[in-house]
Amino acid sequence: MLFAGKKREARRVQEETGLYPLLHVSESLKEYQRMLVHQEVTSLWELRQVGASFSGVLENADHFQVKLENLDGSFTNISQTSEQFLQVKSAVAGSVEEAQGEMAALAQISAEVQQSFDAMRETFGQLQSAINAIQHCMDKIVSIADETNILAINASIEAARAGAAGRGFSVVAEQVKRLAEEIKILTGEVDAGVRDVESSAGQLNDRIGLSQQTLGQGVGIVEEANESFRKITEAADGAVTVQEDISGVITVSQQELQSIRQFFSQIKEQYQDVVKHIDSASRLGTTKSALFEDLDNMISQIPPLVRDIESQGKK
């Protein structure tokens, strides 16, 4: 009983003066430190995942920005193509203007030809009058020749009545008659020639008329062509309006695109800011691991130290 009491008393003294509580604190600290390290590993891992995700976001943002730049490039290409269209329109307008110029020259020439035709018509009229006058003269000559013939016949009759005395006169009369006949024949030939001339002139006149008619149709076509050119020019001008509309839309789209790009640049800056903070947190995490090591290095010395002090106390 006494022995048991002494043992209890010794245990009480040991509990009150011993270093076991210090060891206990050390072990507890060590356990907490282990838990802290475990949590730190998890935190670092999460941070790393966040960093990786944000890197992905940044990559995607970069990718998107590239796409936006490509889109901007496409708009620029459309604008350039649209400007090329304007150039084509200018070329068309130039060609139309040139063609219109040539058509005007053609019309001018046609008018001059028309004037020439009119002059020819007048000349033909004068020719017809001359032919008519010649025919009239020929008729008169034939009439005179006929009268001369009758006179010659009458003279021959009178010469025959006169007998021998009128034989000589009869010869003359015969020659006059023959001359009159020749004149008639010649007049007939002239008349035939004149009629040929008249006929040819008539044909020529008809052809000139046809040519005039054709020329008139040509002039009509020139006018129609001019009208077509005017419509082409009008259509080209209309296309210019469309091109201007396209350019306007492109300009507005590019401005919108610029706004989107600015927005993404701002977002990217903010992302980079976040990544910077993540890096900073990650860097701090690495310094924490050094502190954990220091902590561990210090705590790990407590148990042997306590044991050492206790063993010194026993001595």
Binding site: H38, L284, A290, E293, S300, Q301
Partner: protein, 351 residues
């Protein structure tokens, strides 16, 4: 101040000490067989002079591989040497010694540096020492010695860190760390399944560390150990990177030359243009210290092997000698303030 370097390729301490007068702080770099004797002899030759020592190679214009070397500071130096014992379990038990030594030399951040040689558990040792040094703003440069033995003030210790608190009475002191590696790719890993006592790295981002290393670098198990020269790991600490060498393959895990902790963020490194990087370091030192009285450095054994293989070691020592009086030792791990690193160079430059 003046820096003395004496050496004997045959291991003669007498020869190594020739020309040394009135040293104020001594560092002994000896070999496994003669270490204890050299420590004893040194204490006899220079009694009462603060000294620290370890087993390892040293260099100035050439490398002393198996002999003995002495690096000493003379003129214009205030120094104190000390030891923290039981470093594998509780170096903090002796931490007051460091505090006393700093008080003794009246050390300050501007003109004082702590130089240490350690037998192991380096990260824990540096954490412990830093709890005192950071309060004074004093930097630390040092390394791991060989064979588990170090010395301080004429006595040999096992499982200990020996240190010298050195104050430059003639100007400033600044420490540097040189990393000849840069990040490979964009790989970033979170370490887990680690064993800090055995320096085991089990998993990277939840996958077998060995498989991750092999799949990225396309190497076999056997090639991993030599590939660490080209591609060690880097432990990210804020803006700084601490190099971690691979020692061995253990199942799906990798054993390293430095402890790796759960939640450590690691990256893969690749060897850079080390000649250019060395020149950059030299230029930086020249820029920041136009007048230099001494440079004491610690070079990793891996760097020594790499530079030797590349026929660069002699040229490297010549380049460093251009800075002025340069000497140092080859460590199995390098110390820079509270960071334990591999495959690096750390140095203290005295104005």
């Amino acid at each position: 101040m003046k820096q003395f370097f004496g050496m004997s390729q045959t291991g003669s301490l007498e020869e190594a000490l020739r020309g040394l007068y009135q040293p104020q702080f001594i560092m002994l770099l000896s070999n496994e067989e003669q270490f204890e004797r050299h420590v004893e002899e040194l204490e006899k030759r220079c009694p009462g002079v603060p000294s620290i020592g370890c087993i390892g190679m040293c260099y100035q214009m050439g490398v002393v591989e198996h002999g003995v070397g002495v690096i000493a500071f003379c003129d214009g130096v205030a120094a104190a040497a000390g030891v923290l014992e039981h470093v594998s379990t509780m170096p903090v038990k002796y931490i007051q010694r460091l505090e006393r030594n700093i008080q003794q030399v009246r050390g300050s951040s501007r003109d004082t540096v702590c130089i240490d040689f350690c037998t192991g558990n380096d990260a824990c040792v540096l954490t412990t020492m830093n709890t005192v040094l950071r309060q004074h703003g004093i930097s630390l440069v040092g390394g791991t010695g060989g064979e588990g033995r170090v010395s301080a003030n004429g006595r040999v210790y096992q499982d200990a860190v020996v240190y010298g608190v050195v104050r430059n009475l003639g100007g400033c002191v600044k420490t540097y760390k040189e990393n000849i590696y840069h990040q490979l790719g964009n790989y970033r890993f979170i370490a887990s399944d680690t064993d800090r006592a055995k320096y085991i790295l089990g998993s990277l981002n939840g996958k077998s560390a060995k498989q991750v290393y092999k799949s990225i670098l396309h190497v076999t198990d056997e090639e991993i150990l030599t590939r660490t020269f080209q591609n060690p790991f880097g432990k990210v600490n804020g803006d700084d990177t601490c190099i971690i060498s691979i020692k061995d393959v253990q199942g799906g895990a990798l054993a390293c030359f430095r402890q790796v902790n759960d939640s450590d963020v690691l990256i893969l490194l690749e060897l850079g243009d080390y000649r250019a990087i060395v020149q950059d370091t030299i230029r930086q030192i020249c820029r920041e210290f136009p007048h230099r009285s001494a440079i004491f450095s610690v070079n990793c054994l891996f760097r020594y092997k790499l530079f030797s293989e590349q026929n660069y070691m002699q040229a490297y020592l010549r380049d460093m000698a251009a800075l002025g009086n340069h000497a140092g030792f080859v460590g199995y791990g390098e110390h820079y303030n509270n960071r334990f690193v591999n495959q690096s160079m750390t140095c203290a430059v005295f104005e």
